[in-house]
């Protein structure tokens, strides 16, 4: 069992958890993930390691309550426990001094970008973090990102903070102005990562994206997380989750993520009913 030490609500449906997991915290690196299972009936649920404290023996995980498991997790509080937690999984982000790195974080992807920005800044890079969300209330970790980046630029869909528009608009603007970018790391919705990769492809700027395909075991056994990179089949759990954005078949992955949509809805509907009932009974 892995105890939740702290839980904070950051925005509507977005929570930050600090979980006791000393052995994982000791080994975690930027870009890696864990798989958790909340209870005996639970699914294996991959989450990026957003931060870790090897001294305290804790991991920081962000959860966006949108599906059954994430909503169920959002009902857990400090003092509660998670049944299974395994990691650190996946390959760590390549950290060296590349020069100037643009870190593009869309929505929830900002949580994954955060430790990468910190490591790259520490490695001597000029890090320009481009953060985007629908509106200012949904923009995660603004202060934290400022601390770990050389510079932060913001885009919101409604213009309530920073540039009105998308993160790709900000990146495009930088490129138009002739700013030198040696490397781009983009983490966020697939459509965003695809758009960033398309933008940088003609300029041949090395672009890394972090993929989130369906996973089951997450340890190199089941083959569910296969993605096409170049002409090769790769497995995000052991070969990734980061890949060369210019070589990823995003459309294939976008399609595969739809596989369980009806089942996800069924699971969520049933769970919502349970939650409603519990609320009516005053148990929640």
């Amino acid at each position: 069992m892995f105890e939740i030490i702290d839980k904070q609500r950051l925005a509507a449906g977005v929570f930050r958890y600090v979980v006791q997991a000393p052995e994982i915290a000791k080994k975690a690196k930027a870009g890696q993930f864990v798989i958790l299972r909340l209870n005996e009936h639970g699914e294996r649920f991959p989450i990026t390691i957003a931060d870790w404290d090897s001294g305290q023996g804790t991991l920081t995980l962000f959860v966006q309550a949108i599906g059954k498991t994430s909503i169920e997790m959002s009902l857990l509080h400090g003092g509660d426990s998670i049944l299974d937690l395994v990691g650190p999984l996946g390959l760590a982000t390549e950290i060296e001094n590349f020069g100037t790195v643009a870190l593009v974080g869309g929505g929830f992807g900002i949580a994954a970008i955060h430790p990468i920005a910190r490591e790259l800044t520490q490695a001597g890079n000029k890090t320009i973090s481009i953060m985007g969300s629908r509106n200012r209330d949904l923009l995660l970790m603004q202060d934290e990102m400022k601390k770990v980046s050389s510079e932060v630029r913001v885009a919101t869909d409604d213009g309530s903070l920073g540039t009105e528009g998308l993160v790709t608009d900000v990146l495009n603007d930088m490129i138009d102005k002739g700013e030198i970018i040696d490397r781009v790391i983009a983490i966020g919705p697939l459509v965003m990562m695809k758009a960033v990769s398309e933008l940088t492809r003609p300029l041949k700027i090395q672009t890394r994206v972090s993929l989130n395909p369906i996973m089951v075991d997450g340890t190199g056994m089941c083959g569910a997380c296969r993605v096409t990179v170049g002409s090769e089949m790769k497995f995000a759990c052991v070969d990734g989750p980061e890949f060369d954005g210019h070589r990823v078949d995003f459309d294939g992955l976008i399609n595969r993520l739809k596989t369980y949509r009806p089942e996800e809805k069924k699971s969520l509907d049933q769970f919502s009913q349970v939650v409603d009932d519990e609320c009516r009974l005053g148990n929640l």
Binding site: E23, D84, V86, M221, F235, K266, S267
Partner: protein, 469 residues
């Protein structure tokens, strides 16, 4: 019992659930022998002075001896006799390919049917468990040595049991949330009920073996850290087979295409057949094509058949029935349950619409000369392409190796396919000091019993190694 009398009794059939009842049920197909049946079957054994059956067994179970005890009605003594060399008899009695091992060499089999050794083994083990008579064997005094075992599948569990008996402190590190390896995630409930695997795990725990789940060695700790920081005197790597092979044809990323590993893991480990009570889903399919001819293909196909939405399951195999590596018993059971077997057909493209599988384009094959596997090579017949309708495809072509240990252990030698190389195969020793390996991570995908055989050899090798340090 005289030999002549033994020959006159026919091999006792095993009671089974009817094909109709079981085709939608995950309950075990075979009920196993009753005590009367087992005793009768046991009397068929000729009690050969030089038993060839034992030579056919990778772990050299004392077959005539235990069968003699069964014939005498001493079932618990029989179970303990088996356990002297085989720590998982309830498992091997069910999943071993006896027809290619012990039973293949049974002298009775020359003219009649061999003794049902596997069924008797299963009977004795089940009897002991059901009677609540499981007792741990006598353990050697503590040696003060600590052994780490990586992976709680057949090889690791066997090595753990043998090492604990020898007086060592044993800790098994398992990557998944549940120990058992392929016995849990791979082999379906209807062939190997999970309560049997649980009982075997409990048995190891009673012997003092510690099982730590959710530990991906290679990631959370390296082999060197286990031996230096954690004080382990030796490590046994039994991480099993790894990523599944795919066909390498167009359409494999369509929705509705699964590896057999994923398909079986969803159902067996994650209980997808009980969705939404369990969270892990499996999409409801009607017509499922399973590609391959091995035991995993049969397990996947028979599992697919049992899912509520399934109407039809086909096994598509590029060679003929003679080359199929699946056990005869599985094929027979599959046929009875309504699997459709399609031979000499090879998929060339998975067809789809709107991102989902709609069928498989196959090519007819003919058999040529034997290939490197010794089986006749399938040759495509030009212009024979045709379409099979299916809304799901399960690919069961075997697996490669799990890369995690090798990726993170520089001085551990592997071959071109990522399998760990042994420097001394007799004791399962690797190129790295203190590190032994066995099972699928060394051989590539093989059988439960061969992995157990490797676990046994490794246990002896590890014992000699740590005691000489």
């Amino acid at each position: 019992m005289s030999a002549s009398k033994g020959k006159k009794i026919p091999r006792q059939p095993v009671p089974e659930q009817s094909a109709k009842a079981r085709s939608k049920s995950f309950d075990e197909v075979s009920y196993g022998y009753t005590p009367t049946m087992a005793m009768l079957e046991a009397t068929r054994c000729l009690q050969c002075k030089k038993p060839k059956c034992v030579m056919g067994c990778p772990v050299h179970v004392a077959i005539p001896e235990f069968i003699k005890l069964v014939a005498a009605g001493e079932f618990i003594a029989a179970a303990r006799k088996i356990k002297e060399t085989n720590s998982l008899p309830a498992v091997t009695g069910r999943v071993c390919p006896q027809e290619d091992q012990c039973e293949k060499y049974c002298v009775l089999g020359l003219k009649n049917e061999p003794v049902a050794i596997g069924q008797l083994e299963r009977f004795a083990a089940d009897y002991e468990r059901r009677e609540g008579k499981i007792e741990i064997p006598e353990l050697a005094p503590s040696t003060g040595k600590k052994i780490a075992i990586i992976g709680a599948g057949p090889a690791g569990l066997t090595a753990a049991g043998d090492l604990a008996k020898l007086g060592h402190e044993v800790v098994i590190f398992e990557a998944l949330h549940k120990a058992g390896g392929v016995l849990f995630y791979g082999i379906p409930q209807f062939r190997l009920p999970k309560e049997i695997v649980d009982a075997e795990l409990e048995y190891l725990k009673l012997m003092g073996v510690e099982i730590k789940v959710n530990y991906v060695i290679g990631k959370i700790k390296s082999l060197d850290e286990l031996m230096t920081d954690e004080g382990f005197d030796a490590v046994f790597v039994s991480t099993g087979s790894g990523l599944p092979y795919f066909l390498g044809i167009p359409g494999e990323n369509l929705n509705g295409v699964y590896s057999a590993n994923e398909f079986l893991t969803r159902v067996n480990l994650m209980h997808a057949w009980e969705f939404p009570v369990f969270d892990t889903p499996l999409h409801a399919h009607k017509t499922i094509a399973v590609i391959g001819g091995g035991n995993t293909a049969l397990d996947a196909a028979r599992t697919a058949l049992r899912l509520p939405s399934t109407e039809k399951v086909m096994i598509v195999y590029r060679r003929s029935p003679d080359e199929m590596s699946a056990r005869d018993e599985e094929i027979k059971h599959g046929k009875e349950e309504g699997l459709e077997f399609r031979y000499l057909e090879n998929p060339v493209r998975i067809l789809g619409a709107d991102g989902w599988v709609t069928g498989v384009e196959c090519q007819k094959m003919k058999l040529g000369e034997p290939d490197s596997s010794g089986r006749k090579k399938p040759i495509p017949i030009e212009g024979s392409e045709f379409e099979l309708e299916a809304d799901a495809v399960v690919i069961a072509l075997g697996s490669g190796t799990n890369p995690l240990i090798a990726q993170n252990t520089e001085d551990l030698k592997t071959d071109s396919r990522g399998r760990i190389k042994l420097s001394d195969a007799d004791i399962q020793k690797t190129s790295k000091k203190g590190v032994f390996a066995g099972g699928d991570i060394v051989t590539g995908a093989a059988t439960v019993i061969s992995a157990m055989g490797a676990g046994k050899k490794a246990a002896l090798g590890i014992h000699d190694y740590v005691m000489s340090q």
